[in-house]
């Protein structure tokens, strides 16, 4: 079951929805692009359909809306600890199917890895409803079909943008509003992309061996990757963070502890006190990330982490392609197992 709404009626819907929710969608952010005076598509708050950027992939993933780049865990004054108050409005976020699948991987880490549930993640995440935007064309660097994440079904609502109108399927009653003018009941099921231009073959986790880790292919990335970490920050499934203490007085009596995003490509990620460090070479970090996204996570949680959104390829200043890396890896794993 679904409903059909003119764009005008849909804007009416958004207006009613915004009484209860803050609504986020991909939008064009002017002057924020890679080069001077260029634009970038990122997530922002919207009021109307016209603001939503439908034809381009968002450069940043929607994760920052519910997993902030920087978040205060607590303030302290004279040994008294206080968790920041949290009175946020519920959120509606427009996402593509790949990202919706990506959110599940974030949930896995924050809610299900180990016994502890991440308090800060959960309290925001519980506020989020996802409206899945039908995505049947994809973009140049996408490889969601290979990753099996072109389809998602755990949306709260799904939408198809048409010429002058939208089709909407509302699954979660919390997203219903009363009395929409010109609402027409229709059958609507979102469709999914069936083939991308880019395809990857993922090596079988049982065939990835120590030799794979020690293979020469990683060395190339040592000279190419500059450890900027953009592939980590743009990724819908990268979840790593570091604690940071900030003192607002000389005697450390007032301050805060916060967490900030970090990633495995960034310098210092695994350095320990006393000078021990691991993965000093950027190629080793590329290997670590690759294995995490298409091997390790699977071993632990029975699904791959990467959803094939292709953002890491879009953002890399050194034109390093993750999908090409996966395919190269698959080739060497094939060779290695043929040689056995």
């Amino acid at each position: 079951m679904g409903i059909h709404l003119s764009n005008i009626a849909f804007n009416d819907y958004l207006e009613k929805l915004s009484e209860k929710y803050r609504i986020f969608a991909p939008i064009v952010k002017e002057g924020k692009g890679k080069f001077a005076e260029t634009n970038v598509v990122g997530y922002g708050e919207i009021k109307t359909l016209e603001e939503i950027e439908i034809d381009k992939k968002s450069y940043f993933s929607p994760k920052e809306i519910f997993y902030p780049i920087r978040e205060t865990l607590f303030y302290f004054t004279d040994n008294k600890i206080e968790v920041p108050k949290f009175e946020e409005k519920p959120l509606v976020i427009f996402v593509r199917p790949c990202d919706l699948n990506g959110v599940r991987k974030l949930d896995t880490i924050f809610l299900r890895n180990g016994e502890a549930v991440d308090f800060y993640y959960k309290r925001r995440r519980d506020l989020v409803k996802f409206v899945m935007m039908e995505c049947t064309e994809g973009f140049d660097t996408c490889f969601c079909v290979s990753m099996g994440s072109n389809e998602a079904h755990d949306y709260d609502a799904a939408i198809r943008f048409e010429d002058g109108s939208v089709s909407l399927k509302i699954v979660d009653d919390a997203l219903m509003v009363e009395n929409l003018d010109g609402q027409e009941n229709i059958d609507f099921e979102p469709e999914f992309i069936k083939e991308n231009k880019v395809k990857v073959n993922i090596p079988d986790v049982d065939k990835v061996t120590k030799e794979t880790f020690n293979n020469e292919i990683w060395k190339e990335y040592t000279s190419r990757c500059i450890a900027c970490g953009r592939c980590n920050t743009s990724c819908i499934t990268c979840s790593c963070f570091t604690m940071q203490d900030v003192s607002l007085s000389d005697d450390n009596r007032i301050g805060e502890r916060r967490r900030v995003w970090t990633g495995c490509h960034v310098n210092g990620f695994s350095d320990m006190a006393g000078g021990h460090s691991f993965r000093d070479k950027n190629g080793e970090r590329m290997r670590f990330k690759t294995m995490h996204k298409i091997n390790d996570f699977y071993k632990r949680f029975d699904e791959h982490m990467c959803v094939g959104c292709g953002r890491c390829d879009d953002v890399c200043p050194e034109y390093i392609s993750f999908s090409k890396c996966i395919n190269k890896l698959n080739e060497i794993v094939k060779e290695d197992s043929a040689n056995e």
Partner: protein, 263 residues
């Protein structure tokens, strides 16, 4: 909802100087602890760090901290009566059942003695019995020795060897790297003998290789790892090696597992 990131203030009961840069902090604490687990300790505004629990009883726990940087510098300025912020304990720790009625060698390099101190003491004081109990500890120099009283006391119950990389004018004990002493362990039943190895990465690597060369079975070797950690609870990603989270699945690992981990 429980917030696992909130530390609580605990009172420091006593501070003991082990060496110029290693102090043992005894803190009031009640809760279940397993030897080999660690705490996340902090001073808000300065930082937070994982530190092994080296001793505990029903009302307190002890941690031996090396002064190496920002947070540990500030901790060294604290005094008995002050409070230290902590959350934990975290990690798996050593299962004492592994060692019961077995022939066991505990081998530690420097501060690596801290995480296994309680487990050694458990058997030295006869809470549970082992068949043969040996302790082999290496320090850089005589002045780097930790837990001198414990080592003395243990030598009455088991076979304790303390070696230093380089002695001084007064040093009468053993010298040489730990690896040179492996052959002197009681190897009469080496196929069944259990070894625990904890220390800096390079020491663990060469010591385990030497044990295997001397006939130890891989599945009878246990190690404890240290990695960078921010959360201690499987969220921050810093401690991950392959599909393994050191903070959740470790820090204690059987060598069969440990040898597959590639940083």
């Amino acid at each position: 909802m429980n917030n696992p990131y909130l530390p609580q203030a605990y009172k420091i009961l006593e501070i003991r100087k082990e060496t110029a840069i290693d102090y043992t902090f005894k803190v009031a604490f009640q809760g279940n602890v397993i030897g080999g687990q660690f705490m996340e300790i902090s001073i808000p505004g300065v930082g937070e760090a994982p530190i092994s629990i080296c001793n505990f009883d029903k009302t307190s726990l002890e941690m031996t901290i090396r002064r190496v940087g920002r947070l540990t510098d500030k901790i060294f300025n604290l005094q008995a009566g002050d409070s230290l912020f902590m959350r934990g304990p975290y990690g798996n720790g050593f299962d004492t059942n592994i060692f019961k009625n077995k022939d066991v060698a505990f081998i530690a390099g420097g501060t690596g003695l801290a995480p296994i101190r309680k487990t050694i003491d458990h058997f030295m004081t006869g809470i549970d019995e082992t068949k043969i109990l040996e302790v082999l500890v290496g320090f850089k120099s005589p002045s780097d020795r930790l837990f001198i009283d414990d080592l003395d006391r243990w030598s009455k119950f088991g076979n304790v060897t303390v070696t230093v990389d380089k002695g001084d004018d007064t040093w009468q004990g053993e010298t040489g790297l730990i690896t040179t002493h492996i052959g002197k362990l009681d190897l009469s039943n080496v196929k069944e003998k259990i070894a625990v190895v904890v220390g800096p990465p390079i020491m663990m690597k060469f010591t385990t290789l030497e044990l295997i060369k001397n006939g130890f079975k891989e599945e009878n070797i246990w190690v404890s790892f240290e990695r960078k950690m921010s959360c201690g609870i499987g969220k921050c990603g810093h401690c991950k090696i392959d599909e393994t989270y050191i903070c959740l699945d470790g820090p204690v690992f059987n060598y069969i597992k440990a040898k597959t981990l590639i940083d």
